[in-house]
């Protein structure tokens, strides 16, 4: 029999970016809020302190801050005919674990999607015709417009303290910014960061080709800044131990640096660490949640009643908890029925490496969000009909780190070991750069999430099973990017150049790191037949459960997700505050 704790107004599952935002905003509303975080507690001091944190092996290679598959993982297969096998150690994606979630060890690229991305299906049908959407494709509109979300992007960017330069300020196109972006109502809270050698070389070359380079919007402080919660950031020192690490300098935006100290001071906020939620408990009629059950630090099962349940556990864990708790009908790929687990998508990236014998790049001078970007081949700049695919990419360059175990870029003909390798690392370390494309990934009926029939976690619950593979549409998109990046790279006259883009027949490989931009599975939309949550991130079926995070994306945008994840959290909490709390009910 589980121990029962005192009832709370709100219980939040997970204390990463979305959990921290919801905690702060609901506490400000006067509610009694409890956050349950499965991992340990974590703060700048002592956990990200210099010099201990500057340890490539511990954090960059052994994933010290991330989820431990022994405690939580998924199984993966590429098609229904394959047997899914456990993702036994991390590789392709690196979910967070512990206070701050992945938000404490992210890169900090903080984009807004293009307006067209929110209405992708309608945009394609209207401009290029229905035929372009293949039968296997499952793309949908989001049920929300950029315009509705704009104030909430602005809010998140001010809390997180983003450095950048607006390219479209209330409709005015400004040189040096991104001319293709949707209008912003305000300038970025901080000016753009200074850039490294590679980033500047790329921008020069791009400008010469008539493209429009702009500074990557970054959650890395370019100057001193105090956010709306009174939290302070200081300018980044380009330490080169950024993504996969906690920031040693109070410069990278994270729940820790932007929200948590202010939140922890509130008397109506409490958080418990080493508290892993197993299940959301539903009332007998299944229409509301009564609370959650979790395992505490001593391994004891605890029942925590609450009026409002916020799932903020990261995309994968949100969907897993919904499947385990029976919130919404599980998606069945064979019949196409059900919604929870459908439209899992990822990110379609590629890149070209450029080697320059005579340029000293000093790659250890970097930050996780360094770089110039062009959007000349972004979603709203491509004629899908002519090119024969749906999607787009941003193209960028700028070094994040020069850590030698994980960032030793070498010409392809360098031996992998032996005297030739040793010679190669001397010749080429610090003498290369890369231009990358970061692209959309469409959703498909056959890429989805459900419960694994075989493998169990440490509590005996079925692991979640991911069925995912690359599809021809997205491969055509990434090949298109190759055809644009290579001439740009060539124009820079490198001594050696080599490309890596997925080509026809490419199968998903779980081993190399790709991105921790897992999306979908509890998608938002306008009707309960085709989406799991409404436009306010509220479960269609269980109205006092709100599901935050990239699980709401109906397909993946061409950008990194967190700008949108943050905006959606502020949007949802505004609806909860203004509309739900006075009269709890389905909001749509």
């Amino acid at each position: 029999m589980a121990r029962q704790e005192k009832k709370r107004d709100v219980v939040i599952v997970g204390l990463g970016w979305t959990g921290s935002i919801m905690g702060m905003e609901l506490c400000n509303e006067g509610l009694d809020v409890l956050a349950l975080e499965r991992g340990g507690d974590r703060d700048t001091v002592p956990d990200f302190q210099y010099p201990q944190v500057a340890d490539e092996l511990k954090y960059g290679v052994r994933y010290g801050f991330m989820q431990k598959p022994r405690k939580s993982t998924v199984t993966i297969r590429r098609s229904e005919s394959e047997t899914a096998l456990p993702y036994r150690h991390l590789g392709s994606f690196l979910p967070g674990d512990g206070v701050g979630g992945a938000g404490m060890h992210w890169n900090g690229h903080t984009f807004r999607p293009m307006q067209e991305e929110f209405e992708l299906k309608s945009y394609v049908e209207k401009n290029f015709g229905k035929d372009l959407i293949s039968d296997d494709m499952a793309i949908q509109d989001w049920g929300i417009s950029y315009k509705e979300l704009e104030p909430y992007f602005d809010r998140f960017e001010k809390v997180a303290g983003i450095s950048g330069y607006a390219g479209n300020l209330n409709g005015e196109i400004r040189e040096g910014g991104n001319p293709f972006e949707a209008p912003r109502s305000d300038e970025f809270p901080m000016p753009p960061l200074d850039q490294t050698v590679d980033s500047n070389m790329f921008a020069d070359a791009a400008r010469k080709m008539g493209y429009h380079p702009y500074h990557r919007p970054s959650a890395v402080a370019s100057t001193s800044y105090t956010n709306p919660y009174g939290m302070q950031l200081g300018p980044c020192n380009f330490c080169g131990f950024c993504e996969r690490f906690g920031c040693l300098n109070y410069s990278k935006s994270s729940p820790q640096t932007c929200i948590l100290d202010a939140l922890k001071r509130k008397e109506n906020f409490e958080y418990r660490t080493n508290a892993e939620v197993l299940k959301v408990e539903l009332a007998a009629d299944g229409k509301t949640a009564k609370g959650v059950t979790y395992i505490d630090a001593n391994g004891e099962e605890v029942y925590q009643p609450a009026d409002l349940v916020i799932l903020a556990a990261y995309q994968l864990h949100n969907v897993h908890l919904m499947l385990l708790s029976g919130i919404g009908q599980a998606y069945n790929a064979a019949t196409g029925e059900g919604v929870v687990g459908k439209n899992y998508a990822y990110q379609t990236n590629g890149g070209t490496a450029l080697f320059f014998k005579d340029v000293d790049f000093n790659p250890f001078v970097g930050n996780g969000s360094n770089g110039h970007v062009i959007d000349d081949f972004a979603i709203n700049q491509i004629d899908f009909g002519k090119e024969g695919f749906i999607g787009g990419s941003y193209i960028s360059s700028g070094t994040f780190n020069g850590q030698p175990i994980r960032s030793m870029r070498l010409p392809a003909d360098t031996p992998k070991w032996g005297a030739g390798w040793k010679e190669g690392i001397k010749d080429w370390y610090g003498h290369s750069m890369a231009i990358g494309s970061h692209g959309s990934n469409m959703s498909y009926h056959s890429n989805h999430l459900d419960l694994d029939p075989t493998y169990k976690d440490q509590h005996g619950r079925p692991l979640m099973r991911m069925t995912f593979n690359w599809k021809p549409n997205d491969i055509r998109m990434t090949q298109f990017m190759k055809s644009k990046i290579e001439p740009l790279a060539e124009s820079m006259n490198p001594d050696i150049m080599q490309s890596s883009f997925k080509s026809e027949g490419a199968m998903y490989d779980v081993r190399p790191y790709q991105t921790t931009h897992n999306v979908g599975g509890a998608i938002m939309g306008t009707d309960p037949q085709s989406s799991a949550v409404n436009k306010f991130q509220q479960s269609w079926d269980v109205h006092n459960v709100f599901v935050l995070g990239a699980s709401a994306f109906p397909q993946n945008i061409q950008y990194n997700p967190t700008g949108t994840v943050g905006a959606l959290a502020y949007w949802a909490v505004d609806a909860i505050r203004k509309d739900y709390l006075p009269n709890p009910r389905p909001l749509a």
Partner: protein
């Protein structure tokens, strides 16, 4: 066996000279006295048996040889690093999901699928590979000549030697990865002794502060520091 050790000592001696030259050419120079670390030949491994240790010494010495410019794996004390890793949480797959069933014939792209921990993989693979070398070449791996050692490693890398005992794990790539980790990781883990690998490629280690160097295109002049605060 004494032959292998003799070669090792001589190589270390030669390399000490080379490292000295590198230091005096660098900026933050050799003003700091080297701590007296016992010679690699006198190191007692915590995890590996004597036979396994011979293999680790011999194999890492071929993966990153001492020949030519720059430190080899033995100069960097890579074997000490690997021993520490195998004795610790990594060797025991402390963070990995190890529940069955295991499908060792799964496509490589689905990742690690062996029931063995990394430490168990080393143990089984070294024994099987030594047996293979004995069978094919009449002696264990450590006692083969350089060229034969290289040909064995190449065959292992290409999958031409199939290790039945470690199916579902790729022993060669694990060994190579751990060797490179030991070469470049902070010296507190036992390898990258005296930051030799960082000095060799020009990585400033744990300095982690480069505000004035943003966008500057010229060689960075300072040598590395490690997490303990030592300068290289």
């Amino acid at each position: 066996m004494s032959d292998a050790n003799f070669k090792l000592n001589r190589r270390r001696f030669l390399q000490a000279g080379a490292a000295g030259t590198m230091l005096s050419a660098g900026y933050a120079s050799g003003a700091f006295a080297k701590t007296a670390t016992p010679a690699l030949s006198e190191f007692t491994p915590e995890f590996f048996t004597a036979d396994e240790w011979k293999f680790i010494m011999a194999a890492t010495d071929r993966l990153i040889p001492a020949d030519g410019e720059g430190p080899g794996a033995l100069d960097a004390r890579v074997p000490v690093f690997i021993d520490g890793q195998m004795a610790g949480p990594f060797g025991h797959a402390a963070d990995w999901y190890m529940e069955g069933p295991h499908d060792p014939n799964a496509p490589a792209q689905l990742g690690y699928q062996s029931p063995l921990t990394p430490a168990e993989v080393y143990r089984a693979a070294i024994a099987e590979l030594n047996a293979w070398c004995n069978d094919k070449h009449g002696s264990i791996f450590a006692e083969l000549d350089k060229a034969t050692k290289d040909s064995v490693l190449t065959a292992l890398e290409k999958g031409e030697i199939k290790l039945e005992s470690t199916k579902g794990a790729n022993f060669f790539s694990l060994l190579l990865q751990n060797t490179k980790e030991g070469y470049f990781a902070d010296p507190m883990y036992g390898g990258n002794h005296d930051m030799v690998a960082w000095k060799y490629i020009g990585f400033p280690g744990a300095r982690a502060s480069f505000r004035e160097w943003v966008g500057v295109e010229k060689p960075y002049p300072l040598g590395p520091v490690d997490i303990s605060g030592k300068r290289g």
